[in-house]
């Protein structure tokens, strides 16, 4: 479904970042087995990138529907707080996981109702939970970091399956399931249609409201899953900091992946790639030994370059699909043709 050509800017960006990481730290690609678990910087990239990857899966669909979900970071904190406090209170693992996921689903459902049925603008609707959610998480944890030592829950953060860290396994499985869900059913097409033109989709007999309800609920579910992983990873629920600002990383991952904030065409796989790019950059900065004051500047510069490359490549890609372009390769590729507008959308 995604041609290699379309993914070229992102893949090149990733390759360049990995190369720079390798220059900064020659041991970057070294991998060994530590306690039956893969261990190395590349593994870190995937492992640390997993929560944002998971958020990006849900966020991709929300953005494709021409929405945005600002609440995912706060939902992570709520789900984490729920999992940690219930674990400390002695509930069995299954109940803990179920409760945390239900928290996420309910949050998503609330967002969905606000957007689909009360017609609130998504940015406003989800802002409510973004602000209130962290407060609720703090109420749950009563203001302190709830630390636990339950191996079952910890497994989701630091365990491994066939040597692969659990967060990566979970992100990969969820990614595959989500892609199957949207591309093996008609869900993907219907979400894209609603995102491009909700009115026309309603005229065509689509149940736009239910579709919107679904994407927000699914995003809430993804956020809860990411929250469980983040909490399990540090063996504690930190209501103040868990998932803080991650909604922005997730949105950025989706944008880097090439899904327009104006809705429509989306690719879950590309968004996950976007999350990896962001994390490869973060890990690279940590390894480089730059003074931390430069972290954000470096990050911003790299992102601008990726988006610029993406925009230029999209403007060029339009030529490929047009008749006559191949016959006259000497024609300039960039022009003010409408297809170039597409490239400006993510910016």
């Amino acid at each position: 479904m995604i041609s290699l050509r379309r993914a070229a800017p992102q893949l090149i960006a990733l390759a360049v970042i990995l190369f720079l990481n390798w220059l900064a730290f020659p041991g970057f690609f070294n991998i060994r087995i530590q306690d039956g678990r893969l261990f190395g910087s590349v593994v870190d990239v995937f492992n640390r990138g997993a929560p944002v990857m998971i958020l990006a899966i849900g966020m991709t669909m929300v953005i494709a529907s021409r929405g945005v979900d600002l609440s995912v970071g706060a939902v992570m904190a709520m789900a984490g707080a729920t999992a940690a406090t219930m674990t400390v209170a002695g509930y069995p693992l299954v109940a803990v996981l179920a409760a945390a996921l239900v928290v996420g689903l309910l949050c998503g459902l609330l967002n969905g109702i606000l957007v689909a049925f009360l017609d609130l603008q998504p940015i406003v609707a989800t802002l409510i939970l973004m602000v209130a959610g962290r407060g609720i998480a703090q109420l749950v944890t009563e203001g302190f970091i709830v630390t636990f030592n339950e191996p079952g829950l910890i497994f989701f953060g630091t365990g491994s399956f066939l040597g692969i860290p659990m967060p990566v396994v979970i992100a990969a499985v969820l990614g595959v399931l989500a892609i199957l869900l949207v591309r093996r059913t008609a869900l993907g097409l219907l979400i894209e249609a609603v995102g491009v033109n909700r009115s026309a989709s309603t005229y065509a007999g689509l149940n736009s409201r239910v579709l919107l309800l679904f994407v927000y609920t699914f995003s809430g579910f993804c956020a809860a899953l990411a929250g469980i992983i983040a909490t399990a990873d540090i063996r504690g629920a930190d209501a103040n900091n868990a998932g803080l600002w991650l909604e922005l990383d997730a949105i950025l991952a989706v944008v880097i992946g090439g899904t327009s904030l104006l809705g429509g065409r989306f690719s879950i796989l590309m968004s996950m790639l976007g999350a990896i790019i962001i994390q490869a950059m973060n890990t690279g900065i940590l390894l480089s030994g730059f003074p931390p004051e430069y972290n954000l500047i470096v990050k911003a510069a790299v992102i601008i370059m990726i988006l610029l490359a993406q925009s230029l490549s999209l403007a060029g890609a339009g030529a490929f699909f047009r008749p006559g372009a191949k016959a006259k390769p000497q024609e300039p590729l960039r022009s003010s043709d409408p297809s170039a507008n597409k490239a400006q959308n993510p910016a």
Binding site: R184, T185, A186, L187, L189, L190, E192, A193, V196, N197, S199, A200, S201, T202, Y203, A204, G205, L206, N207, G264, R265, G318, A319, F321, R322, P323, G324, A325, A327, K328, E331, L333, S335, S336, D337, P338, S339, K342
Partner: protein
């Protein structure tokens, strides 16, 4: 009346997009004191030519002259400075600002560093008075009808530019009376010495208004002629590059005499909704075409919305083949085999970023449900079939539908519904904003569809058109169904008379 040096002229204009040549050596000029029609089928290059004249695009070759002097038009702002203003079909003003603000945005009269509101409104009032418009200039523009918005846009463009005014399909969403007002204003501007470029699909309007006619086809200039010396038949053949199809006339007589099918029927009885349409009865048999005629605002579109479940009725009932049914959402309507091609193709019809294939498959997919995905191959077969059947012109079915011309977009929406094999198809202004060729094809298609046993409700303000294909004609006035013409009663004159029976009363409704 239209002699002397050209106000603005384009010579040997060449423009390509990504290797596709869309303008190929086109000449065009506007003289002072003339209204110049720019005609051509969709995709002929009209819009591109206009965009080059107004600096949106830069030409790859050729010269633009302003009163004889070669100029480079940098952008639309520069074009305005040079005296060339444009008003588009979709009014590009800001509906949430006041009329006065729209007129003076970017050049508001200032006092003490603040906008001098009363002065601005005084000037706005004076400006609009020139056009015989007397409205509350402090009210939001969006509150007024499209016609008023259009006139405001024209007033602004003339005030800003003053020598050349380009109008891109200004009459597309106006009713007859509004068109007359607009024409009167345009004639007055012409007599003041302005050059006006008029793009339209309505040939009668061309002859009513224009002095000269330029026809483009496939990016090439076909010719520029004095309107008075160009017979309509010849104009159409210039546009189409072939003689006018006879499709519309063959079935006409037959259709009129066709007895209403006595078989399966869809019956709406006492169907209505407060503040939308007064309760009405409507019974449609298979193979029937019910034309709906009425002025803008008479309840035509509201009737369509009600029939298709976009608005829920607050009275009445529906039976299909004698069995009761309910249509409370478009989804439910689609399940029952209803289909609606909406009036506003861009906002309610096409899904612009999706491909032709996906747009055609959309309604059928929605009816099947999200779990039963149509495989891409099946979608492609479906799309190929309809692209061929409806002669949809697109380089391939994976092209985003927004890149197609208006007529082809309309056909895509039609294909979307035909793909669902509907039993009732509602067409709201199916030929609006479509070029002559596509227009004839769509009418031919309507005839063919009802021969195949489909029930059709066609809403159209083109009276000749609905006369041609309707079995019955429903007359709407003041949001009420006022009567029906059948058989031999159906004629443009009778329709006009029926609509005009209380036209003075309905005019108010129309402009509300």
């Amino acid at each position: 009346m239209s002699t002397g040096e050209a106000l603005v002229s384009a010579e040997k204009i060449i423009k390509s997009f990504l290797g596709l040549r869309v303008l190929d050596g086109v000449d065009f000029s506007v003289r002072p004191g003339e209204i110049h029609a720019l005609l051509g089928e969709n995709g002929a290059g009209k819009s591109t030519l206009i965009k080059i004249l107004t600096g949106v695009h830069q030409p790859d070759g050729g010269t633009i002259r302003l009163r004889g002097t070669p100029v480079t038009v940098r952008d639309t702002g520069h074009a305005q400075e040079l005296g060339v203003g444009t008003v588009y079909q979709e009014v590009n003003l800001l509906p949430n600002l006041s009329v006065a603000e729209n007129l003076f945005i970017g050049r508001q009269p200032m006092r003490w560093g603040l906008v001098h509101r009363s002065e601005m409104e005084k000037r706005a009032k004076a400006l609009l008075a020139q056009y015989d418009i007397d409205i509350d200039v402090s009210a939001d523009l969006g509150r007024f009808s499209v016609a008023v918005q259009q006139l405001v846009a024209i007033a602004r463009a003339v005030d800003l530019s003053g020598s050349v005014l380009i109008l891109d399909e200004p009459t597309a969403s106006l009713d007859r009376a509004e068109v007359e007002t607009l024409f009167a204003i345009l004639r007055r501007l012409r007599d003041r010495g302005m050059g006006i470029v008029f793009i339209t699909h309505f040939l009668d309007q061309v002859y009513a208004l224009c002095d000269r006619i330029t026809v483009l086809r496939n990016g090439k200039l076909v010719g520029t002629r004095e309107a008075a010396e160009l017979p309509q038949v010849e104009l159409v053949s210039m546009m189409l590059g072939r003689a006018l199809a006879e499709a519309t006339h063959g079935a006409e007589a037959e259709r009129r005499s066709a007895p209403p099918s006595s078989g399966k029927r869809i019956e709406f009885s006492h169907y209505g909704r407060a503040r939308s349409v007064a309760p009405f009865d409507l019974s449609i048999g298979a193979g029937e075409v019910v034309g709906v005629a009425g002025l803008l605002g008479s309840g035509r579109t509201e009737t369509a919305r009600l029939l298709f479940g976009l608005d829920a009725p607050d009275s009445g009932s529906l039976t299909i083949d004698g069995k009761p049914a309910k249509v409370l959402s478009p989804r439910a309507a689609v399940q029952l085999g209803f289909a609606l091609c909406p009036e506003d193709r861009k906002t309610d019809g096409i899904v612009g970023d999706l491909s032709v294939r996906e747009n055609i498959a959309l309604a059928l997919q929605a009816r099947r449900g999200w779990l039963r995905r149509m495989p891409s191959r099946e979608q492609a077969e479906l799309a190929d079939r309809f692209v061929k059947a409806l002669d949809i012109r697109t380089s391939d079915i994976e092209k985003p539908v927004k890149f197609l011309s208006g007529g082809n977009q309309q056909k895509v929406v039609l294909a979307r519904w035909l793909a669902t094999n509907p039993r009732l198809l509602i067409l709201d202004e199916p030929t609006r904003g479509i070029d002559v060729g596509a227009h004839a094809e769509i009418i031919a298609l309507i005839n063919r569809l009802c021969e195949e046993g489909l029930s059709l409700v066609v809403i159209s303000s083109e009276i000749e058109e609905i006369t041609a294909y309707s079995t019955r004609i429903r007359i709407l006035r003041d949001r009420e169904h006022r009567g029906e013409l059948t058989g031999a009663e159906i004629s443009p004159d009778n329709i006009m008379r029926a609509i005009a029976a209380q036209a003075s009363a309905s005019n108010e409704g129309a402009s509300a």
